[in-house]
């Protein structure tokens, strides 16, 4: 057997082994994180973002896997997303958001963050998602092209 074949077989064997370990992990069970209360979600933000104090404007998603809030004072937007048995948090400043879209009660936030490019929040009520879409809009940074266009218009005016 040539070296190429040996390596290919070894790779397949390793892939199979990884699959088995992961299946064993699934079979043995694990506990998915749920953000049961707003307090619990706020604790994640306080724990992971030093100095972040959530304000009163806050919302949990209907599946209890996401949380959005404004910092007291409104400077930053706090996000908590359950990921497996843990949570990933972000404290966003103005300009960190690429775009925000709303469809009914669903809010989709696109970020300038390679490791966290898109957040989908199911907020339960249309009115609630509308209000949050407006709040998140204030954190949006226009794409460079649009800014250049705007500058060109301003110059020509």
């Amino acid at each position: 057997m040539n070296d190429g074949m040996t390596y290919a077989l070894a790779l397949m064997g390793a892939g199979f082994g990884i699959g088995l370990i992961v299946l064993l992990n699934i079979a043995m069970g694990w506990t998915r994180l749920r953000l049961d209360t707003e307090d619990k979600a706020r604790r994640f933000l306080k724990r992971d973002v030093m100095g972040f104090e959530a304000g009163d404007e806050q919302a949990l998603t209907t599946d209890r896997c996401g949380f959005i809030c404004l910092e007291a004072g409104g400077e930053r937007l706090g996000l908590v997303l359950a990921r497996g048995d843990n949570a990933v948090v972000r404290a966003l400043r103005a300009g960190d958001v690429r775009r925000v879209d709303r469809q009914g009660a669903t809010l989709t936030i696109a970020l300038y963050d390679y490791t966290f490019p898109r957040v989908v929040l199911e907020l339960g009520r249309d009115g609630q998602s509308q209000a949050w879409a407006e709040r998140v809009e204030t954190f949006v940074r226009a794409p460079k092209r649009a800014l250049k266009e705007e500058a060109r218009h301003a110059e020509s005016a």
């Binding site: 064993l24 992971d48 497996g84 490791t115």
Partner: protein, 312 residues
């Protein structure tokens, strides 16, 4: 020259059995945590690291063969040279590891290992794919070859060093007897290293012997008063191996592209992780300083200050 085996290849079955054993132990006792997608990501990163070693390892071998001709001494193969090489390699590992946390170019590679929010034996296998491309081996790997240690001996003891570090990635072992905790890197010391709690940032860089941290002022003991949070300061929102592998490189590229001067290029590339021209981002040093201020603790005196430290 003796025909040395590759200890890592021999250790792989043991790694697999121990990961499974820890998983079962965790399930029975609740003392360790596993999550399938995190486990899968760690193991795929480990496999990718092995493959990239086969593909890119030739660069490292070629460099060492080149450097070997300038060696000062012709160190033989006596058993005690293996022991000396092991200790010296661990010393080099300490500095290599320390700079992997304090120079963003090298952190971009090493961050992969810290990117899990879990701390279990599978985390030990979460390794980068592009390590040889960082050229760290030129700056830090050449010293022992230049002294005269045979490259094969260095590769052998370096592999033993990595095997030692496997078992310390666990929450299943709390503390070992005091003399061992004093001399050796242990699960307790290495948990501190993987923590993102400000008090623990950029501490305990040791591979095998924790004495290097004690000697160079980077040692921090684990405290039972504070629950450890694992991962990195901005944890990843994905388990995608490609993103895990490339995210910090991508960050460097984007930042360098936005730089307005050579100073900014160098800062984004070789400065501590989190460096920014206007100081608007956080490094380990700024995070730690802020935390100390919040706790009402005295910041370290200037003469005790560490070199710029990086966000974990």
């Amino acid at each position: 020259m003796p025909n040395l085996p590759d200890p890592i290849l021999w250790a792989i079955p043991g790694f697999i059995l121990l990961v499974i054993a820890e998983m079962i132990y965790g399930r029975l006792t609740g003392k360790t945590r596993f999550e399938p997608r995190d486990t899968a990501a760690s193991l795929v990163m480990g496999l990718g690291n092995t493959v990239s070693g086969l593909v890119l390892g030739g660069i490292v071998v070629a460099w060492f063969v080149f450097v070997e001709q300038f060696a000062l001494f012709d160190i033989g193969w006596a058993w005690y040279w293996f022991v000396i090489a092991f200790v010296l390699d661990d010393f080099v590992y300490y500095w290599s590891h320390r700079w992997a946390h304090t120079v963003r170019w090298w952190w971009a590679d090493h961050v992969v290992h810290h990117s899990s929010q879990h701390y279990n034996l599978s985390t030990a296998l979460r390794q980068p794919w592009l390590n040889p491309l960082t050229l760290k081996f030129i700056f830090l790997g050449s010293w022992l070859v230049l002294i005269g240690f045979p490259p094969a001996m260095i590769a052998f003891v370096a592999a033993l060093n990595l095997i030692y570090q496997f078992w310390i990635h666990t929450e299943a072992i709390k503390r070992l007897p005091a003399p061992i905790e004093w001399l050796m890197n242990t699960p307790s010391h290495h948990r501190v290293h993987h923590a993102t709690n400000p008090r623990y940032l950029d501490r305990n860089y040791a591979g095998v012997f924790i004495i290097w941290d004690r000697l160079f002022g980077t040692f921090e003991a684990e405290t039972d008063m504070e629950e450890i949070r694992y991962g990195i300061v901005r944890n990843l929102g994905t388990h995608n191996p490609l993103t895990i592998c490339l995210h910090e490189w991508w960050g460097i590229l984007k930042d360098v592209k936005s730089a307005r001067s050579l100073r900014e290029v160098l800062g984004y590339w070789l400065g501590p992780p989190g460096w920014s021209p206007d100081g608007s981002r956080e490094t380990s040093a700024t995070l730690k300083a802020r935390w100390m201020e919040e706790q009402g603790l005295t910041p370290p005196r200037k003469q005790d200050a560490q070199p710029p430290v990086a966000a974990e």
